[in-house]
Amino acid sequence: MVAPDFSPDRFAGWHMVNTLLQSRSGLQLHLLTPSSAQEQADLLRHDKADLIYANPFDAAHLIRDLGFRAFARPVGKPDEMVIATAAASPLRCLEDLRPGSRIAVTDNRDVKLIGLRLLEAADLTDKDLQWVLVETFQAGARLTIKGEVDAGFFLAEIYHSLSRITRSQLKVLIESAIFDITHVLLAHQRIVGEIPAIMTALSGIGQRSADHEVLEALGIPGGFEKMNDEEAEFMVDLMDTLLD
């Protein structure tokens, strides 16, 4: 199962990786791509996932409460977020945002969480702001450009993949640079025995020349690296400090 926060043009990439992993590990893999956090939660409640490409926010619960084991993470692809306003907006920095400001957000909880932590520097908390829920970051960008919201929250990767024209109508107020927070690949306890086979297949992606296309399509050109339990716990502790 892949967490629902990848940009739509990565869809093909996930299918290609799934196919490669199947053929190289010999395991039967059925790709699940829930389209929202809610749908992902439903699949989890029905215990439908053995392998999860999880966002760091969910990783805490999956590892500590549901007993999933982390075994890999993308290389050079930390989860960062951007707060942007319209290019023509009078706002020049984060501190210019005032209580009552309207902010476009998606249901990406880690983006919202990190954004809220950055806004503390401007003395703003969750309840000081008016949240305008949007389906996609692209929709958030449209509202921000039109001035229907004062600012939008974006997953940095998606912000940077917006078209040049769109970005030229936006202005970044802040971009996080945390580096230590990434998505993680998790395995359910019932398949921990398969982790070595999966890891071998996974870290092998990128070794053959044709694989580069797959990693490019996925937006993870550096491929995946091993992650041990302690590295995962460290990241979960870090997320824990950001909860309040």
């Binding site: 932590r117 950055l118 503390e120 401007a122 003395d123 945390i178 580096f179 460290f234 400090t241 950001l242």
Partner: protein, 166 residues
């Protein structure tokens, strides 16, 4: 571990001199310059200590902001950053909270190697592995100017009370 005295900071501007006594009885001479180093935008400053408060991990932002090298930091007690304007009670509260297994939040004024200071909003949590607390992690975020002003006033009152009680 006994920290060496600080070196008199380079100009411009004067520095005030102070001899700090730490919880373990060690002392050192520190210099403070009345100049703030701004918190780096978008960053988190992260460190980890063992149960005795000795630094075992520091991220890049931590190293840069402290003004020390990573080699100087790893193995040093975390009070290497203690600023003389921080009241003892703030750290006492930190240690009682984390020793009881809970999360601590607080505003801290830190002293850099060059005598400048920087304010952080810190969260310290016990790292629990297999049901046992094995270390502590601290993650600092950028505090608002309003909070910094409020806490500076509060800490200076606490500090004068602590001095009067001595």
């Amino acid at each position: 571990m006994h920290l060496p005295d600080m070196q008199y900071p380079p100009p411009p501007g004067g520095a005030c001199e102070c001899r700090l006594t730490y919880h373990d009885g060690t002392r050192r001479l520190v210099y403070c310059v009345d100049r703030e180093e701004p918190f780096p935008d978008g960053r988190l400053i992260v460190s980890r200590t063992n149960l005795a408060g000795i630094i075992t991990h520091a991220n890049e932002a931590f190293v840069t902001m402290s003004g020390y090298t990573i080699e100087e930091l790893i193995g040093a007690p975390h009070h290497i950053l203690r600023h003389p304007e921080m009241p003892k009670a703030a750290f006492a509260d930190l240690w009682t909270t984390i020793a009881s297994g809970k999360k601590w939040h607080g505003y801290v004024k830190n002293l850099r190697k060059d005598g400048l200071f920087y304010w952080v909003y810190a969260t310290v949590i016990p790292n629990v592995r297999g049901g046992v607390v094995v270390s502590y992690t601290s993650v600092r975020r950028k505090p608002s100017r309003r909070k910094i002003n409020e806490m500076s006033d509060l800490y200076s009152k606490m500090l004068s009370q602590e001095r009067a009680a001595q």
